[in-house]
Amino acid sequence: MAVIGWAKSGLIANNLDHRRQNAHHPPHLYIRRPSPTTAEYTVTTRPPPSLTLRLALVSLTTLRLVLFLVALLLLTTHLSLLPRPVTQHPYLHPLLASPPYQALVRLTGPPLPAWAFAAAACAVLYVCFAWQLHTTERLLVLRGLGIQTSTTGEGVWGSWRPATRFIPTEKIRDVLINEAFRGFEVRYYLVVLVEGEEEVVVVFPRLLPRRRIVEAVWRGVRGCLYEQGGEGRGEKG
């Protein structure tokens, strides 16, 4: 349900945006330069902020919250975890006694084995808590120190392990754009050659943004890492 809501809101945002045609968002690039020697390149599937998007996000968050609470309540009811004084509390009692809630309790009740319900409820709790709407990948460049890549994935498991990797400047042999076969296509991607490692480090490995973004990041990284006076400053925004 959450997925459908998100997809719909995305579609609306897109139609208003007039720049994208289909429901799946192509990655966007956001550049942040807190100081002339630092740059952060964020590639994310989150669409650019708009009123519709904010409304959709607020309603989605509310929905998740409600779903989370209902699942929690059902779980505690079935397992009789709540002590009597709490269930008899004047704020909670009308809700627990209301017909829709009673119907829900009956629906998830005895014909369904208790363990199955408990597992399902736990799953719903987890999904409501941990669902990531967007994939976000970052590249942080610090002149004189090095670069750091990080990836936060989409979906249920995305937030588990944000893969972060720091490469100090003296270990960076080069930063370059390469082409390779991937599935049925040839893609451009940004790689960092690391001293003493056989494998290259691919930047933005999940999203693999298109050439325009990759080139902008490549110019910026080289400008920030190697060139004096922060020449990439003109490309901000």
Binding site: E179, A180, F181, F184, E185, V186, R187, Y188, R210, R211
Partner: protein, 486 residues
């Protein structure tokens, strides 16, 4: 300003594998790039060579990962190459797809898909085939399929043209003959006496000096040792030639399944001191081996062109070769002695060549300059460019096909009225339908499926989602070749 094109050369055969087709593609591509065209090469992945590579002159090579079945040809899956091919063609903005070698499955697939995508196609045939055995019949049917709908065909010799026209039932007007060439600078004859190490036998004195009656004559054979290269003939002829001519030596370079037969022959006849087997050599070493000899022996059973004999003549060697395929067209008669492809005649012809050299009747020192003036890759590129101009309509059909051919009365049905082949599916189907009772229908099915796959791909991977490759700055051709202009 002449039009320039984005050209994709497609073949299963490319470097790192050595061979005639491979170097043909490379040389033609570099000369076309010198003339301002953009050229990329699509081949399959070799060991340790997958993905996108650049050669030093800016030539881009796509090594597409594919299954290799036999002598580095890929498995013929008619449609599996299409998604990848379409992606490459779109990102490189290709106008013309140029396939090479009739045994290359990748090339045939590429021609089919390119026509489905509405691109101009050219096919270059490098080899001759028979008509009788099962493998040839199958290959010919496949060739007929892919050449039913091709814009133009290039053959490397007139014999090859005749063969291809018959095999693929083509209109001879749409087949051009553009021979191979050699880089004459890489095949200069031997001049410096200190160049050859003394411990191995090789030519001494060098051919510029007259040959005495008892000087050793060295015969060089450089060939992949396969059946079609005539290695059996060589195995049979060597003992007889050495018996008839005492001061004669052989140097054999190359490897292949027939190498073992040669080694057995050497051991049986105890010829270890007169026949040297060098094993496989790299293409850049060919010249160093050739200049050690006086005579180049080429016993091939079938050959469309035979670049190697041009290379040998360019090195100043007298050439003895079998009169098969396109070989008689390649060199002028004063550089060669021809033999029938049989043992006795080969022995006699080699004897004649040795006698002629001993009598100092052959001016081998002049061969290099003569070959240099006959064969150049720039010339090949100019002629190929003319084919591209012809099929893309840049020069008129009358100019391209000849004035009598553009007469509507003799106009071939396979070509459209515009002089170039129509891309309409129904016209393409008509061409394929004539391939045979069953084959025609099968081929039509394939073409229809291919077209459907194309439509699916257009939906699945829309064109605007494919990144366009940036081009190298193009070279401009200076037609007048004025020194000091640039």
């Amino acid at each position: 300003m002449a039009p320039t094109y984005n050209i994709a050369m497609v073949s299963d055969f490319f470097f790192p594998q050595p061979g005639g087709v491979e170097s043909h593609i490379y040389q033609l591509s570099s000369k076309l790039m010198d003339r301002g065209h953009k050229v990329i090469i699509i081949t399959h992945a070799y060991d340790g060579r997958t993905g996108v590579r650049y050669l030093t002159n800016g030539l881009k090579v796509y090594h597409v990962p594919f299954l290799v079945i036999y002598r580095s040809t890929t498995f013929p899956t008619v449609f599996s190459f299409f998604p990848m091919f379409r992606n490459i063609v779109l990102r490189e903005r290709i106008d013309i797809v140029h396939g090479h070698a009739s045994l290359s499955n990748l090339c045939h697939e590429a021609i089919l898909h390119a026509r489905t995508m509405g691109l101009r196609t050219v096919f270059t045939d490098h080899s001759l085939f028979g008509f009788a055995d099962a493998a040839s019949i199958l290959t010919n049917k496949l060739l007929k399929f892919s050449l039913s709908d091709v814009d133009h065909v290039i053959c490397v010799s007139h014999t090859c043209k005749e063969n291809t026209v018959l095999r693929a039932s083509l209109d001879p007007l749409m087949v051009s003959v553009i021979p191979n060439a050699v880089v004459a600078e890489n095949f200069k004859p031997y001049r410096n006496p200190g160049e050859i190490p003394k411990e191995t036998f090789g030519q001494d004195p060098c051919p510029a000096r007259p040959l005495g009656p008892h000087d050793t004559i060295t015969i060089v054979v450089i060939s992949r040792l396969f059946y079609n290269k005539g290695t059996d003939l060589l195995t049979a002829a060597i003992p007889r030639i050495l018996e008839n001519h005492p001061n004669t030596r052989f140097i054999i370079a190359g490897s292949g399944p027939k190498a073992i037969d040669l080694e057995q022959m050497i051991e049986q006849n105890v010829l270890q001191d007169r026949v040297e087997m060098l094993g496989p050599i790299r293409h850049e070493e060919v010249r160093d081996v050739m200049v050690r000899g006086h005579i180049y022996l080429h016993p091939s059973l079938t050959e469309a062109f035979g670049t190697v004999i041009v290379e040998a003549a360019s090195c100043g060697l007298y050439v003895v070769c079998t009169q098969v395929g396109g070989i008689p067209e390649v060199l002028p008669s004063h550089m060669t002695v021809f033999a029938k492809p049989e043992e006795d005649d080969l022995v006699v012809a080699t004897g004649k060549a040795i006698a002629a050299l001993r009598a100092n009747k052959v001016r081998t020192e002049l061969f290099h300059e003569q070959v240099k003036s006959m064969y150049s890759w720039t010339n090949v590129a100019i002629r190929t460019e003319r084919v591209y101009n012809g099929i893309s309509g840049a020069i008129s059909e009358a100019e391209f096909y000849g004035y009598d051919a553009s007469d509507p009365a003799t106009w071939s049905a396979t070509r459209g009225r515009s002089g170039v082949q129509s891309f309409a599916l129904i016209d393409r189907l008509k061409r394929y339908y004539g391939c045979g009772i069953w084959a025609g229908k099968l081929f039509c099915m394939c073409v229809i499926v291919d077209y459907l796959i194309f439509l699916v791909l257009e939906l699945w991977f829309p064109r605007d989602k494919i990144d366009i490759c940036p081009d190298w700055p193009r070279k401009t051709v200076d037609e007048r070749r004025e020194p000091g202009v640039r």
